[in-house]
Symmetry: C2
């Protein structure tokens, strides 16, 4: 069997892809259309929020120092200056030994720098309030700019906006945001053995799974997939298909045709394009060794393995992160089986997660390599790095959720 031309480590493959990834365009979108989009620049607050001091409780606004030493047995005596109405500016200020009633959310009168909760007060007649507990400066008060300061970075470039984040931006009066434009990604399935999914495969044929999983996972991370069907092992047809896909997309994924074999001429076809450069041919990972990347002008072709599990995994770990932070999360879990890995390659171990009642448990998903249903069994994966020769049962591992 022939060798791969240019096998690189996983970290090197990541770097080569990042360095040669077509630059993402940016665009402005209305806040209401920004869900799951990735910020192309920092969002700054353009106001102090709140713009005035407000109470977080129902109680009496005071000068904090006037309450120092107040106890149940020796309460402080304050003069009631007035009442602040919700949503209105108080028309007065608070001086020494004075106080004013404020409901939750209301503005503090000037002079006041704390609020005594109603529970620790007692009203005596018309205009005297007994205070049985001291408050410190700014106790029970939201200060000016405590939520956001003018010029403060609220969300950084590269953040992916969730529903809650959109709420925060709405509160700050941000009506549109600058985000990265979705990247167009073409998908070609190659190989004589691949048939469309509506056909019944004969012996030796398989249905075109990768066009479907790759398109879906591209959509999930905010890209725009375009499929170009199945191209048989024919030099001219592959060349024509690639040319069209490269015209219409910044990145083209070619699944199948990247392994080493007699009929593997896709690399030759790729390198026959003008201004083409082989970035790598083979990555020291499992699964996914037969992965290649070629830069063609400003565009990029990533050849993924034909095997659906490997293709999905390699797209997830190599390509998806280039479109901005993937909405993936990492969870620590205890592995419930020994896992061996060869030093000198990065392994991506697919696992199912379960809950022991005390913590999360990760069970490796194995399965005969021809089985397709194992594709949808895992909840996430564990990255076993280059240096590491596996994990022991009972070790806590970091699981990246799909």
């Amino acid at each position: 069997m022939a060798e791969f031309f240019k096998v690189v480590r996983f970290g090197e493959a990541q770097k080569l892809l990042r360095d040669n990834f077509p630059p993402l365009q940016t665009e402005k979108v209305e806040l209401s259309r920004s869900l799951n989009r990735v910020l192309a620049r920092d969002v700054l607050s353009h106001e102090d929020m709140p713009a005035f001091e407000r109470s977080t409780v129902d109680g009496y606004a005071v000068r904090a120092r006037d309450t120092f030493g107040s106890t149940e047995s020796i309460p402080g005596f304050l003069t009631l200056k007035g009442e602040v109405l919700m949503g209105q500016e108080p028309g007065f200020s608070i001086g020494q030994s004075e106080c004013a009633w404020v409901p939750t959310g209301a503005m503090l009168p000037s002079g006041a720098d704390g609020v005594v909760m109603m529970e620790y007060t007692e009203k005596l007649g018309e205009d005297t309030v007994l205070v049985s507990r001291p408050v410190g400066p700014y106790d029970n008060v939201i200060r000016i700019g405590e939520d956001s300061r003018w010029g403060e970075v609220i969300f950084s470039r590269g953040s992916r906006l969730r529903a809650q984040d959109i709420g925060v931006l709405a509160a700050l009066g941000v009506t549109e945001v600058k985000v990265f434009s979705p990247m167009h990604m073409g998908i070609i399935s190659s190989g004589d053995e691949i048939v469309p999914i509506n056909e019944v495969p004969t012996v030796g044929q398989v249905r075109d799974v990768n066009s479907y999983t790759l398109a879906a996972v591209i959509t999930n991370i905010g890209g725009i997939p375009r499929t170009y069907g199945i191209i048989p092992d024919n030099r001219d047809l592959l060349s024509q298909g690639l040319e069209k896909a490269l015209e219409e997309n910044e990145v083209v994924l070619l699944s199948g045709g990247s392994s080493v074999g007699e009929r593997d001429f896709s690399l030759e076809v790729l390198l026959s394009f003008p201004d083409s450069e082989l970035l790598f041919h083979g990555v020291a990972t499992r699964p996914g060794k037969p992965t290649l990347a070629v830069r063609i002008g400003e565009h990029l072709v990533v050849g993924l393995p034909g095997h659906p599990v490997a293709a999905f995994m390699m797209f997830t770990v190599l390509c998806a992160p280039l479109l901005g932070p993937v909405p993936a999360r990492q969870v620590r879990a205890v592995l419930n089986a020994n896992v061996a890995s060869q030093a000198g390659r990065d392994d991506f171990l697919r696992v199912e997660l379960s809950d022991s009642g005390e913590g999360m448990v990760a069970t490796p998903v194995y399965g005969k390599s021809g089985l397709i249903r194992i594709l949808s069994l895992a909840d996430g994966f564990v990255h076993i790095p280059y240096e590491k020769q596996g994990f022991k049962a009972g070790e806590p591992v970091l699981v990246t959720l799909f």
Copy 2:
């Protein structure tokens, strides 16, 4: 302060909403458009996959019983009958003490019921193969229907399809699926104090956060949000707005106006619609007590609290699950602080997750209730049920990720 009319427990509120939720319509969609959709009926396999026995290794197809007792010192001798080519039907069968070369993925000749890996064989001359290890029946073989059996349920009604699941369906030749149609959900913000997000609020005003977070979270779970802007505290305007929203949506979310207060007339307006029924007015939860639900004909109005954190939380726990399984996950984590909860209500404690290296740690997200940025701080929430009076620091709790 007046009381809520009809306060129910969280479980009861869930049940009332489920029982009165407008029925979801169904539709057929192409597989390529089914990402994140929820299956409206079981998907069955309509074929055996694989349709023939295939090898999972490079090696020799054998009758397993002919290898029993083979060892390195006393190898078994088999007669090489032929070679199976990848993707082709073998034109011969295997009899007693015969074998045939099969590459990974190739079809087994009839008569063979196991494959000896190449590593444990040695070829002797033209047509003799030495076997140094026995194989059991169906070792290194994927059996007919092992991936899926005709008629087997592959994904159940109610499953939400991920990219990987779409891949499995593609492999099975499923070209379209029956899914629930997206539900239309109208959103009304009510209250004199609410201003559009492009305005600068004066004292006592707040920007309309809920229209944005609710629309985004509805989109996230596959619904179609439609916003109806801000309706001031005016009986006629509210009635007109609700009428329009009810015409155009199966469910209407009314944020604000569900707490008990002098100006709270939204319930009266809702109950003035023909065939309207109060399901509940107040839920024994924190946050989210001022949540109400009214059935109007076949439609449903859910009144959510005006406070953005509470509105987001109550939509997440009460409404979202009704649209099918939420793509949320649960993670076990150790709480790093004592958390008190009153018995007699369900608490939803927002937490940040971090990784201790041994397991996940949940830190409660508190914050002065007027602060808006805490909306986007939490990674998930812990449900503290009715009976439970909080958790102690160090207890393992179940965190539902946002």
